[in-house]
Amino acid sequence: MSDKKSILIINQSAPYASSKARESLDVALTCAIFEMPVSLLFMGDGVLQLLKGQQPEALQTKKHEAMLTALPMYDIDCLYVTSSDLKLHGLHSEDLAVPVNIVEQKQIASLIQQHDTVLTF
C-alpha cells in the first residue's frame, strides 16, 4: 500500500439501534492504523453518536462515546457534523462528547470532494 488515500466516513446511523456505528469506528481505526488520513462526518440520526453522557449499560453494549474520545490517539481529529441535523435533534455543541467541526449542509459537497474515498454507514 504505497498511496495514502484520504477517507471520509459518513455516519448516518443512531449509535445503538444497529451495529453500524460500531462497525464504522472499527473501519476508521483500521484505516488510521494503515496511516490513511480519516475524517468522520455525522449526519441525520448519526449526530446522536456524538452525544455526551451516553448510558448504554442497560443495553449491555459498549459505550460508543468512550470509543469516540479515543479517536485522537489514532490521529483522527477531523470530525464534522451538520448544523441543520444538530438543530433537528435539538442539540448544541455543548451537548457533544468530543470537539466537532460544525458545518453547513452546503459544505458537504466540498468535504466529499476533499477526500479520495467515501464510505457510508
Binding site: 500500500m1 459518513i10 453500524k20 462497525e23 479520495d116 474515498t117 467515501v118 464510505l119
Partner: protein
C-alpha cells in the same frame, strides 16, 4: 476503472445486496475491473452455504460465486462480522468448536485490513446498504 465494493446488506432481506451484485456484473461486462468485494455487517450472510432461498427467488451466494469464478474477483468476508453471525471456515469452526464450517467456496474470511488495502488500491470504493 478499478472498483471495490463494500456490501453491508443482508442477501435475504435487503434489495441493496442484489443491487451490489448487479453493479458488479454490469461494471465487469462494461470492461471495468472489480478489485475486491468486502462483505461487512449482515452482508457476510451471503457467504453462508446453508442459505436455501426458494426456487423462484435469486440465490446471491451462488451468483457471486459464479461471477467471481468467471472474472477472478476477490470476495472477502469480514472475519469478525462473519464469526459472530455463524459464517465459519474450517479454521474458525475448529477454533470455536462448532460442528461444521459453512463458508461458500470462493469466499475468504479476512480482516478489515483487506478493506483498507482495497481503498488504497482501487479508483473507486462504493458502499451498498448503508
Amino acid at each position: 476503472m478499478k472498483f471495490s465494493l463494500v456490501v453491508h446488506s443482508s442477501p435475504i432481506s435487503q434489495q441493496s445486496a442484489a443491487t451490489a451484485f448487479r453493479f458488479a456484473k454490469t461494471a465487469l461486462e462494461a470492461g471495468h475491473e472489480i478489485f475486491r468485494v468486502f462483505y461487512y455487517g449482515d452482508g457476510v450472510l451471503v457467504a453462508n452455504s446453508q442459505i436455501a432461498p426458494p426456487q423462484d427467488e435469486i440465490n446471491l451466494p451462488e451468483m457471486w460465486q459464479a461471477l467471481a469464478k468467471q472474472y477472478d474477483i476477490d470476495l472477502v468476508v469480514c472475519i469478525a462480522a462473519a464469526v459472530k453471525r455463524g459464517v465459519l471456515d474450517d479454521n474458525e469452526a475448529k477454533r470455536y468448536e462448532k460442528d461444521s464450517a459453512n463458508l461458500v467456496a470462493g469466499f475468504e474470511l479476512s480482516g478489515l485490513g483487506q478493506l483498507a488495502e482495497a481503498i488504497a488500491l482501487s479508483d473507486r470504493v462504493i458502499t451498498f446498504g448503508a
